[in-house]
Every structure is written in C-alpha cells, then in structure tokens.
C-alpha cells in the first residue's frame, strides 16, 4: 500500500536527515494501519469509500496567479481588524495576504522545520483517532506547513483562507496548520476553506492547536467549500491549565465531508465550548466525529450540534465525550439535534459518553427527526403558512449555534448564506 507515496517522497529530496527519518516512520505507521473503512466504528458513517483506490499523490498544481479574477471573486471579504493569510493549494499567497502588525497577528512561520517534533504526537493522535491514517498522510504530504504562533495578550485576530483550485481525482490536496496560543494570550481565528467550483476539489487538512495555560481562543471554522468538493480533515486541540477555547464549525455542504476533531482537555479547569452546524442537501454526505477527552481536574465542556438533512443528504454527527479517571469534577454537556427535511434524507446522531470516574457531571441529549409538532401548531394557529412556519422553525433551530458567530460581519455573511439555503421568501425579513 501507498507505494506511490513512497516513490513521490523519494523524489522530493530534502537535505534534512531527521525530517527524512520522520517521513519514513510516518509512512510506515500509515502503511501498518492502512486506511480506515466503514467497519471501523469511528468511520462507520464517513464518506471514505474508494479511498484505498486513490494514488494519494496528487499532481502538484500550479497555483493560479494571485490576480486571477476567479480567485479574487472566490475570496471572502476581509474581516475588519483581522490580519489575513491566504493559502492557495497549500502555499501562502503573499499578494493576497495582509500581515497586520505583529502585535495584532502573532508570528507566522512557514517552514518544514518543527515537523519532526510532531512525529511522536502523530502516532499518538492516530491511536486517539481510531486508526486515522488520513491525518498522517496529510501531514506527510504537505509541502509547506503553516505555523502560527499567537502570542499577544491584547489579542491576535487572524483570518485564514485555504483555497483549493485543483481536482482531487488522484487524491486529496494536503494542507497542514499548527497553531499555538501562548500562555495568557488571546486569539480570534477565522478559518475558511474554499474550492473553485466545477473542479471537484478534494482537501486533506490537518490542524494541530495547542492552548497554553490561561490562553483564550475563539476559533471559527467555515467549511464553505464548493458544492462539488470533498473535504477531509483532522483537527487536534490540546488545552493546558485554565485555557479556554470556543470552537465553532459551520458546514453548509460539500459533496463529502469528514471532520474529525479531537480535543484533549489536559489542563485543570480547562474549558471547551464546541458548536457545530451542518446543512446537507442533494447527495451530500457530511460526517463529523468529535472526541472530547477530559483529563484535567475540573475540566468543562459543552457541545452543541444542529444538523439539517434535506434532499437525499446524509448528515452524521458523533460526539464522544470521554472522562478519564484523572478528570475529577468534570462537567460535560452535550446537545445534538438533527432535522430531516427530505423523503430520502438521513440523519444520524451518536451521543457517546465514556466515563471512568464517579466525580462527574455528565448529561447528553439527542433528538433526530421532524420539527416539534407543538411549535408547528402554535405557529399555524397564529395564521402562518405551513411552509413558512417550517422554514421559520428551521431557522430558529440553527440559531442556537449561528447566534454565537463572531465577529458580527461574519455572522451577517453566514446568516445570508443559510437563509439562501432555507430559501423561503418569508425569511427575507430576517436577512441582515
């Protein structure tokens, strides 16, 4: 398996012996595990069929010129007060990026160095992710990992835009991001993924984020790829003492999405708020798998998912909350809800709890199915059209997560997008 990868890597000669050794080790570990399949419980609902037939070595695309109109049109508007980094096909495009003063944006390092340090962590991650060799391959094949050190106590604000313009026939285009929020520092990150329409792009994105003690991260991830694109990603978040993270994911629909998130609350009193929205339509297949591993004393997490499956879409969410024996006085809460809005649509929820100590507060609830009949009747009894009442309740349903979007410019943009998806004239009133 992966002979192509071995060959391709051999061709990409680097002078760094340590790096080469790490690559060999990573590849060996990926080969040993093979790719996960639908028989692995963690990958049961993932759109990964046929992955083993890919060569996994996509031809390196020539990045389009920064001034190409299609690219410029694709890019989201800059967010006021945010430094912007645009990564096109795995390479930072300086012309499209705007580095703000260092104090506001932190330090950006793009280099291959430091990868070996992550080698051990990778193997560890693979274990935690239940046979996730996708992450290993993604990291291994990335040519230019992006490293972001966020070390401003006043708060760093960065908008990261990843663009894929190439087709993913041979395999996914790899990108790697490492983020560190330094002790006591604050950061606001908006991470957006885009693909050019019509090329059937396929991304394999790997993120490692470390929150040092007392740091605070507000991290919004928009997986707004093109409707014909596929997106595979592995996101790791490690939290130290007293750190606070708010991670919000919006997935308005790819052809295929698998987002694997592993958050480890190592530090005492570390806190995580995870919010996610997924909207599937047509033949889309969206799968999110989130493991929140509580290890530190007094760790606290809340998880909210809202999914909508229309058309023939399949929308799946697994929220696995684990409380280790060390995590005394953990408080973990989870609310997963999905609506089905199509005769052939499917929604899947797995609210999982794994608890290894008794000093814990854990609760979860999941609801899958139709809109609340009582709410619907209330609106009808006030004279609303059934279709309008349904759209309105769908909108309200997503509000639990959408209302938390920051900054306001981003929320406005996303609300407009979601309203267009719900496509009801009545809701035009709600449009910002």
């Amino acid at each position: 398996m992966f002979e192509n990868i071995q060959k391709a890597l051999a061709e990409r000669v680097t002078g760094d012996a340590a790096l080469a050794a790490w690559r060999r080790a990573s590849l060996a570990s990926a080969c040993a595990q093979g790719l996960p399949g639908p028989r692995d419980e963690a990958w049961r609902y993932a759109p990964i069929r046929g992955m083993e037939r890919l060569s996994w070595v996509p031809a390196a695309p020539s990045p389009p010129a920064s001034d190409s109109t299609s690219l410029r049109e694709l890019l989201p508007p800059p967010l006021p007060g945010f430094a912007r980094m645009v990564v096109v096909n795995g390479r930072v495009d300086a012309a499209l990026s705007s580095h703000a003063p260092a104090a506001a944006s932190g330090t950006v390092v793009d280099s291959l160095q430091g990868l070996d340090a992550a080698a051990a962590a990778d193997v560890d991650a693979a274990r935690a992710l239940a046979n996730n060799s996708f992450a290993i391959l993604g990291r291994l094949l990335t040519e230019q990992p992006l490293q972001l050190v966020l070390d401003s106590t006043a708060g760093s604000r960065v908008q990261l835009v990843f663009v894929t313009t190439a087709a993913g026939r041979d395999g996914p285009s790899p990108t790697t991001l490492r983020m560190t929020v330094a002790a006591g520092c604050r950061a606001e990150i908006v991470e957006e993924h885009l693909a050019v329409k019509g090329v059937a792009a396929f991304a394999n994105h790997v993120v490692d984020t470390a929150l040092h003690s007392g740091s605070d991260l507000l991290w919004t991830r928009l997986l707004v790829s093109a409707a014909d694109a596929r997106h595979l990603e592995t996101v790791r978040l490690q939290q130290a003492l007293n750190s606070k993270a708010s991670l919000l994911q919006i997935a308005p629909g790819n052809t295929g999405l698998r987002s694997t998130v592993v958050a480890t609350l190592d530090g005492a009193a570390s806190q995580l708020q995870f919010n996610s929205v997924a909207l599937g339509d047509g033949n889309q297949h969206l799968d999110q798998h989130v493991l929140i591993d509580h290890r530190g004393v007094g760790a606290k997490s809340t998880e909210v998912f809202r999914g909508l499956a229309a058309g023939r879409a399949r929308v799946a969410f697994t929220g696995h909350n684990r409380v280790m024996p060390t995590a005394l006085n953990t408080d973990t809460r989870q609310s997963l809800r999905s609506l089905i809005a199509g005769r052939e649509a499917e929604a899947i929820a797995r609210p999982q709890l794994e608890i290894l100590t008794d000093a814990v507060q854990a609760s979860h609830g999941a609801t899958v199915g139709t809109l609340d009949p009582q709410m619907l009747f209330y609106l009808l009894s006030r004279g609303l059209e059934p279709s309008a009442a349904q759209s309105l309740l769908k909108w309200a349903f997503l509000q639990d997560v959408v209302s938390q979007l920051r900054p306001a410019e981003l929320r406005t943009r996303l609300e407009a997008l979601l309203l267009a998806r719900l496509a009801d004239p009545l809701l035009s009133d709600l449009a910002p």
């Binding site: 609340d372 209330y378 609106l379 009894s381 059934p386 309105l392």
Partner: protein
Amino acid sequence: MLSIKDLHATAGGSKVLNGLNLEVKAGEVHAIMGPNGSGKSTLSYVLAGRPGYEVTHGSVQFEGQDLLAMSPEARARAGLFLGFQYPVEIPGVNNAYLLKAALNAKRKQHGEPEVDAFDFLTLVRSRMRLMQMDEAFLSRGVNEGFSGGEKKRNEILQMLVLEPKLALLDETDSGLDIDALKVVAQGIETLRSEQRALVLITHYQRLLDHVAPDFVHVLGRGRILRTGGRELALELEQRGYDWLTGQAA
C-alpha cells in the same frame, strides 16, 4: 358567529367530547367551566384544529363556513384565535417576528398590503403598554424563558395585535397573581365589542369578576350540562361541580 352541533371528538383514541352543542353570537361573552378532564381544553384544540384530535361526529360553523374543513392556519386567518393554556416555547424565533408574520398573513388574507415596520412597531408598542409588558420582550424568543404569567400576557398581546373575531381563551387566568389577572382581564375587555365574541374557558370564576360573561356553561363528560347567567358561576364557586356532574349521570 360560532355554531357547534352535536360535536363528538376523540383525543389520543379516547372519547372526550360527547354531543356538545354551543351557539356563540357576535358581541357575546361565554364562559365555559368544568372540572378537570371534562373536555374544556379538548374543545379549544378541536376548534383550533390541533392534530391528534379527531372529530367523529357533528359540525361546527364559523361565520357561515365549515370550520372543521379548514386548516389550522386558515381558521386563524378567518379570525379564530386560541389563547393556549400552556403556550409552547420557541427559542430562536423572536416575538416581534412572529407577531409581524401572523399579522401579515391575516392582512394578506383580507387583501390588505403588508404592514410597514413603523406602523407595526407603533401598533405593538401601544398594545404592550396596555399589557404592561417591557419592550425587551419583543426581541426575545417566543415564550422563551417566560414565567407562567408572562406567557399568558404574551398570548393576550398576540390577541390584541391580531384582533380576532372570536377569541377562545383556555385557562388564561391560571397561574396569574392578582395584579397580573387585572392586566390580562383589562386586555380581554379591550377586545370586547359588538363585532367580536369571546369564549373564556376557566376553572375558577375569579376571571369572571373582571370580565363579566353573558352566559356561563358547565361542561361535564364531554357535553354541556347546564347553561346560565353569571350567577351560575357564583353558585359553582360555592357548591363545587359535583352536584351538577353527579346529577347528569
């Protein structure tokens, strides 16, 4: 305005209404009283068209139309308003939005243009003052986190904005303290006119001290056991329901 003839209905498979007859004319205020389980709430749900309540026999005419053939939203637009006993919370949909959508749905039905934002706010604000409600309510989710009393005020507020021809108020007085009861009663009185009718479904007669009914009906075992004037309510308060419900065996 409303004519119910020999109405039989089931809820969740069991018979709740057994041959109920009721005539309500414009300008009248009717009170329907009765013990728990007598079918009071079922009557209001059947009239509003709630799914799960099945009419097995009988007819209901509203303004000359076959009410039972209409969808819940069509009934609402035709001027039937149900004040719920337990209004549901709808997080994420704000009160102002629902009020406006409901008002416009009704206006559209009557061939009127949509209300503009300014007129709408003026109207709602005046009604809120009447109900002694804080304007902050408007931007909150429908009934979300409201106390029992706040929910009931909100029901009356909706009624005042929508100005229905016939309002069915299901235990609107329950869970209210004395001050709130006065405010709610005042709201109800505001709507009272020659063109409209009110049906107050209640357990106790205390609301009737504030909104004087023209007729009082006692419901038991799914039909009307006795009809009288206001004095019947007072008698019930003194004697309870047993003498009537037992008598109708």
